[in-house]
């Protein structure tokens, strides 16, 4: 079992003829992902990464039965690409693109509330069910099949924590990178709910970072609704207020919201231990599973 993606998932890649889109479509296929089509306006009838390309997502869905889209469209056009994906009632859209204007994402966010499609991202590494399929840019070789669900706001931090787990022989059901932007589709609470309802997931890792209040909301949700044991990590303990640390969302405001202390204490209050190092997170997970 796994959440959101498995070897039955039928993927259309939006932007499959671009450099990134093409490379990662090939990587996804090599990993075993069932990529069935590409969608690029003006490129219909061509072939890329060994799959047919259509001018519209609608055509890719009709002709190839795609149920999931992975979006590698440049930021200026990515908002429009997400709208197109949402218009075809796909089950899942994964937006990898970094740097989408925030106001475009506010409009996407409004549209999302009117559809049944789930959005992951934007500005995220995607998600992977080890041994079955990956959607996005995660390096497949560090993951292993197992029973830990992982959700993270940051890409490379996900790799680091997964590496600490896999090195101890602890595999993953599914790992989801939800992205570091201020406005995202699937948030911690959504991902926690998915893992809580997945029979195979016996423990959950949640990697947060400074900025916003998503981790605090997740802590409240865990307290009320999650029985699966959770271990946490929060990046940015040493970040000074008012300085953005890379991600658009990662900033402690002048008035003190979004601090690591607030997130760590909210998680601790919900019974979630927060590791000082990625290695300590793996210690907690190992103790849950033994």
């Amino acid at each position: 079992m796994s959440v959101l993606v498995d070897d039955d998932t039928r993927v259309v890649v939006q932007g499959i003829t671009g450099g990134e889109g093409n490379f990662h479509a090939e990587q996804m296929i090599e990993y075993g992902t069932n990529v069935v089509a590409g969608a690029v306006p003006g490129k219909g009838g061509q072939e890329a990464a060994g799959v047919p390309v259509y001018d519209t997502v609608h055509e890719a869905v009709e002709e190839e039965d795609a149920d999931t889209s992975v979006i590698f469209v440049p930021p200026a056009f990515a908002g429009d690409a997400i709208f197109e994906a949402l218009d075809t009632d796909l089950e899942l859209a994964v937006a990898i693109t970094e740097g989408i204007p925030t106001q475009d994402m506010a409009r996407v966010n409004k549209r999302l509330s009117e559809t049944d499609t789930r959005l992951i991202g934007p500005n995220c590494p995607g998600l992977i069910t080890p041994g079955e399929a990956k959607l996005g840019i995660l390096p497949g070789n560090i993951f292993a099949d197992g029973n830990v669900g992982l959700v993270s706001r940051s890409g490379t931090l996900t790799y680091q924590v997964v590496d600490n787990l896999t090195n101890r022989g602890i595999g993953q059901t599914t790992a989801i990178g939800i992205g570091g932007d201020p406005i995202i589709g699937t948030d911690f609470v959504d991902a926690l709910e998915l893992f809580e309802n997945d029979d195979e997931t016996d423990a959950i890792v949640m990697c947060g970072e400074i900025g916003g209040e998503d981790e605090e909301e997740a802590a409240a949700y865990i307290d009320e609704h999650v029985d699966t044991p959770v271990a946490g990590f929060i990046a940015g303990r040493t970040a000074p207020p008012g300085k953005r640390m890379g991600h658009a969302g990662a900033i402690v405001s002048g008035s003190g919201t979004g601090t690591a202390e607030s997130k760590i204490s909210a998680l601790n209050d919900a019974g979630v231990p927060v590791g000082d190092t990625p290695e300590e997170v793996a210690d907690h997970i190992e103790s849950y599973l033994s």
Binding site: T102, Q160, F233, T238, A250
Partner: protein, 385 residues
């Protein structure tokens, strides 16, 4: 990230859209200040044009009544160092005789994923402090971005805030205009604090904040032009901007380079955890090639506070062989390596990277934890010498 307009730039944008602003002129020397004041008519405010909050308290704003005072103010403000920023321009502005100071602003509420309009009768002070002490003193109205702000919403926010009914209509109009500007110019924040109310019942924007979403500058060419003119700040941060790095300078002596914001933040935290002090945040981003890696080392070596460097790369789209090439390239040009460098490579092509990496020039560690501890101990050794 947001690009911040200077006050004089934001005021021009607001004035062009029809928001009342005081008469004002930009000046860069004492004679310019005096000429501007003469033309506008005393009393005037002389205001430093730098991108920091709390200019008034820091001595960057003076209200002057005559030429003598204007000369004194211009002498002291022009050329001053205001919280690390050099003041080379001031705005000379007609003083407003006010009875009330309001606050109006538009920003993105990230929790809701929607724009929010805010109005308060407690303008003229730090609004973040008001928000903390007395959240009810700020009326908030969320806006559906697919429709924009309806006029009734502007009125509702203004009435909810308890603004004097005599000026409610004018304040609502300012708020509507401010929202339209925020939307059409891809604002992240648009604020007027204070929006002054005069004895005659006029409203006038005595300050102006306009921050633009940097990710949207590609469709705001006029504003992107302004940015070049307004560039300033810390020397190292300017250098980082030239190299196009996400860089934040900190106070410590352990330099940090990595890929991906979350992992770089984690590396900073671990330096602190193991008793060291981070000198900086530097994210090379995804897919960095050798020359970018070399630039990152140059960047961190440029900070005199740095006593050691930890270079932590977990490759997804970044390849270990490119990283190793870049490190060799940067270090082989030195007869003596300026500061000890600890390298940890993992992920995509890390084995290839390790084969290429010249281990005479760096210390290699296998794990993040070990790499950080090693760099911290090097920094301590340097300090003990």
């Amino acid at each position: 990230m947001a690009m911040k307009l200077h006050e004089y730039q934001a005021k021009q944008v607001f004035a062009d859209a029809g928001i009342p602003t005081p008469a004002s002129q930009l000046a860069s020397d004492v004679d310019g200040v005096l000429a501007a004041a003469e033309e506008i008519g005393y009393p005037v405010a002389v205001k430093a044009q730098v991108q920091v909050g709390g200019r008034g308290k820091a001595g960057g704003i003076e209200l002057v009544a005559d030429e003598t005072e204007a000369r004194e103010a211009a002498d002291s403000i022009l050329g001053m160092d205001l919280k690390g920023y050099h003041v080379d321009r001031v705005l000379v502005e007609g003083a407003v005789d006010f009875t009330d100071e309001l606050y109006v602003g538009i920003t993105m509420d990230r929790g809701e994923g929607k724009p929010v309009a805010m109005v308060s009768t407690r303008g003229g002070v730090n609004i973040e402090e008001v928000a903390e002490e007395d959240p009810d003193a700020i009326a908030r109205e969320h806006v559906d971005p697919s429709f924009g702000m309806h006029p009734y919403q502007a009125r509702k926010a203004v009435y909810d805030a308890g603004v004097d009914p005599a000026v409610a209509r004018d304040v609502s109009n300012v708020l509507m205009t401010l929202y339209d500007l925020w939307e059409s110019r891809d604002g992240s924040d648009a604020e007027i604090n204070p929006l002054m109310v005069t004895a005659d019942g006029d409203v006038i924007a005595a300050d102006a904040v306009m921050n633009i979403d940097e990710d949207a500058l590609f469709r705001q060419p006029e504003l992107a032009e302004m940015e070049n003119e307004a560039a300033g700040g810390d020397e190292l941060e300017q250098k980082a901007a030239e190299y196009d790095f996400d860089y934040v300078r900190l106070e410590g002596n352990t330099g940090i380079i990595g890929n991906g914001a979350g992992l770089v933040m984690t590396t900073l935290d671990l330096v602190d955890h193991y008793g060291g002090e981070p000198a900086n945040f530097l994210d090379v981003g995804g897919g960095a090639k050798a020359d970018r890696i070399a630039n990152a080392l140059d960047m961190v070596f440029s900070d005199d506070n740095v006593d050691s460097v930890v270079f932590n790369i977990f490759g997804g789209i970044t390849r270990g062989d490119e990283v190793a090439k870049g490190i060799n390239e940067a270090l082989e040009q030195f007869e003596e390596i300026p500061k000890p460098v600890v390298v940890r490579l993992a992920g995509t092509n890390w084995e290839e990277g390790m084969e290429i990496l010249n281990e005479d020039l760096v210390t290699v560690e296998q794990t993040l934890e070990d790499a950080v501890q090693r760099a911290v101990s090097y920094a301590e050794e340097v300090n003990e010498q």
